[in-house]
């Protein structure tokens, strides 16, 4: 394949010789006005109200389904013996996996100094938090007696009861609650300087007051910035092992059980890769309409989409390796149960789900994403992101259902059929997610303003200020 000479490439900044991440011609003031203007405008687009209404309507389904669940109990769901785990755990794993890309973008890419992430990290983090909200709902309402949910935490009580720390389900509580807390803290700390900007630019007294409170009096002092940068790097360094551990712990829920199809050592890395794969797909699903709707093509450029597609290609290959390894181990282990499980997964009554998953997670994305033309084709990427999200949901469905419904004893074989309440709960969380996301897009800075400023060529202390650098160097 002929490569373009770097000089002709329009994506290279002629001044620095580096790949430009955002479109040229912006100043500190123009990027500030552009991003702050989205929030501070008094003209809320009509489409936003429409979207909020629809999302709120869909979220109502969740409220109805949960109310009925609390009245009647878990029996309204399709879970039964042998399929004791159904939609609740599938949706939990799916949602939390989606959240992981947000942490990956905000933390791991920050540590690797991938500045292109600056445009997308804020809403990727928001996506993480809202996805964790949706994910956390499922285990809680699956408890049977959700009003006793606080029993999951170790706290001194008159019953003298404590959690059982040798169970992966107790580990889950620690992993997910830590993940939710750290994600919120990281997100909020990241927004503090931008709240300062919004406070200073707001016209309405109420907006001034609210952003003023949220900014905690941020004034951009250099000593503050030094500590702030240090804390951001530390949080990124902590979030990186955290995100890997969370999906590892979730895979332990399966891998620790003595169940054919679950009891494999490849689960932790394979779950983490799958989480990042579906998470990047979700970032694309959200980024493509947002940049179009709010005209942010200058800040979220085709290079961002191209890079995210490349990450999907990489993690998709790891996921593909995981699928191959599962099949290989089913044969190589020489275990009758493993062999039967894999045969049943592929050709049993729910074999269609397996092949649909292979089609949407491997066959379509991993053949087409090699082409740069398709990686920068916005419409194609959007459709593909939906396909991959469906595929990753099916992956969890296949793992949970096909392993359970053909038990060791043929006399206990059964099947799994989700009820309308299962579907309502699941669809309702989409509504909740979209509802929260629309609120975020309207009231909070969706792109980190201070980090975008750092990517402008004006930050370079060179033109006219060459002596400034030497002055500093000489005196040190």
């Amino acid at each position: 394949m002929a490569t373009k000479s770097p000089i002709d490439d329009p994506r290279i900044d002629p001044h620095t010789g580096e790949y430009a991440v955002i479109a040229p011609g912006h100043t500190f003031r123009s990027v500030t006005q552009k991003i702050a203007g989205l929030v501070l405008t008094s003209n809320t687009p009509l489409g936003w109200f429409g979207g909020l209404t629809v999302a709120g309507g869909v979220a109502t389904l969740l409220v109805i389904a949960m109310t009925w669940l609390f009245v009647k109990g878990i029996g309204i769901w399709g879970v039964t013996i042998p399929g004791a785990w159904g939609f609740a755990i599938i949706n939990f794993v799916w949602w939390i996996g989606i959240g992981h890309a947000g942490t990956l973008i905000s933390a791991i890419l920050l540590l690797f100094k991938q500045t292109w992430r600056n445009s997308i990290n804020r809403f990727a983090e928001a996506m993480t938090i809202f996805a964790v909200v949706c994910a956390g709902t499922f285990p809680l309402i699956h408890l049977g007696r959700p009003w006793l949910g606080y029993w999951l935490f170790p706290y001194p009580n008159t019953m003298n009861l404590w959690p059982q720390f040798r169970s992966p389900l107790a580990w889950d509580v620690f992993a997910v609650s830590t993940y939710a807390t750290i994600s919120v803290v990281f997100w909020y700390i990241g927004m503090v300087p931008d709240f300062g900007t919004l406070r200073d630019r707001a016209v309405m007294p109420f907006a001034k007051y609210m952003y003023g409170l949220l900014s905690m009096g941020w004034r951009g002092s250099t000593r503050h910035w030094v500590r702030y940068e240090s804390a951001s790097l530390l949080l990124a360094g902590l979030a990186t092992p955290l995100v890997l551990s969370v999906h590892t712990v979730i895979s332990f829920d399966f891998a620790v059980a003595a169940m054919a199809g679950w009891h494999t050592t490849i689960f932790p890395p394979y779950f983490v890769a799958g989480a990042i794969y579906s998470g990047f797909a979700m970032v694309l699903t959200l980024a493509i309409p947002i940049r179009k709707f709010y005209h942010l093509e200058d800040l979220i450029t085709l290079r961002h989409l191209d890079n995210m597609a490349k990450v999907m290609l990489g993690t998709g290959c790891i996921v593909g390796y995981g699928y191959c390894m599962e099949v290989f181990m089913a044969w190589y282990s020489a275990s009758h149960w493993e062999f039967f499980m894999m045969w049943n997964r592929m050709f049993g009554p729910m074999g269609w789900a397996y092949w649909l998953l292979i089609l949407s997670n491997l066959a379509i994305p991993l053949t087409t994403l090699w082409s740069r033309k398709l990686r920068v084709n916005v419409v194609y990427l959007f459709v593909l992101s939906l396909i991959v999200n469906t595929g990753m949901w099916l992956e969890r469905f296949v793992i949970v259902v096909t392993s359970l419904y053909r038990e060791y004893l043929p006399s206990s074989w059964g099947t799994y059929r989700a009820t309308k309440w299962d579907y309502m709960t699941f669809v309702g969380t989409w509504g909740l997610f979209t509802f929260l996301f629309l609120l975020f897009v309207r009231f909070l800075p969706i792109i980190p303003i201070s980090e975008i400023r750092m990517m402008l060529p004006q930050t370079k202390i060179r033109p006219g200020g060459a002596d400034a650098e030497t002055v500093v160097e000489e005196t040190l």
């Binding site: 040798r166 803290v185 200020g465």
Partner: protein, 180 residues
């Protein structure tokens, strides 16, 4: 009336980070120590010119992490061995490998919260009022596209006329007095 009673300091505004860094360096050479730069994004060179390199945020974070790890591990040990011993499939009560996972999570939880809240505490935030917000050009600039150097009145070398003259030499856009 001495100027110290009513004045927080003198605030010079610059258009570019390079000018700010040069001015800060000159002010430092002139012997000023109680001064601060205000910028819309982190300018490392300004911190160098202020001779401010070390923060204790990493130390706070480390202490938090160690505390989280010990808290979780000791809590699990105490609960499983003494407070609520249970025989789970004949495994030993002190099954420490299983305890690592919650301890790992709480290490990160405590370390992350310490880093975030430690940073805020060291910065003296939240502090909703600050004299600088009285300066007419500060709020439209410091959080958007201007670079400020403030020489504070508490510095022993501060004298309103001489300090203003010093700042005027550094080619600022403006120099304003900031009221307390």
């Amino acid at each position: 009336m001495t100027p110290r009673e009513g004045i927080y300091g003198l605030l010079a505004e610059f258009n570019t980070p390079a000018e700010l860094v040069r001015a800060t360096e000159q002010a430092h050479r002139a012997g000023f120590r109680r001064m601060e730069c205000y910028t819309p994004y982190p300018v490392e060179e300004a911190a160098v010119a202020l001779r401010f390199h070390k923060t204790s945020v990493p130390l706070v974070c480390l202490l938090g992490g160690v505390m989280g790890m010990l808290t979780a591990f000791l809590m699990e040990t105490w609960i499983t061995l003494w407070s609520y011993p249970m025989n789970i499939a004949g495994r030993p009560l002190f099954s420490w490998p299983a305890f690592i996972i919650p301890a790992y999570e709480w290490t990160i939880l405590f370390a992350g919260l310490s880093a975030a809240f430690g940073m805020l505490a060291l910065n003296g935030l939240p502090q909703l009022y600050h004299p600088l917000f009285n300066a007419p050009n500060f709020r439209d600039g410091a959080s958007t596209d201007k670079f400020f150097l403030c020489l504070e009145a508490t510095d022993p070398r501060f004298s309103i006329l001489e300090t203003r003259a010093l700042l005027e030499q550094l080619a600022p856009v403006s120099v304003v007095e900031v009221d307390l």
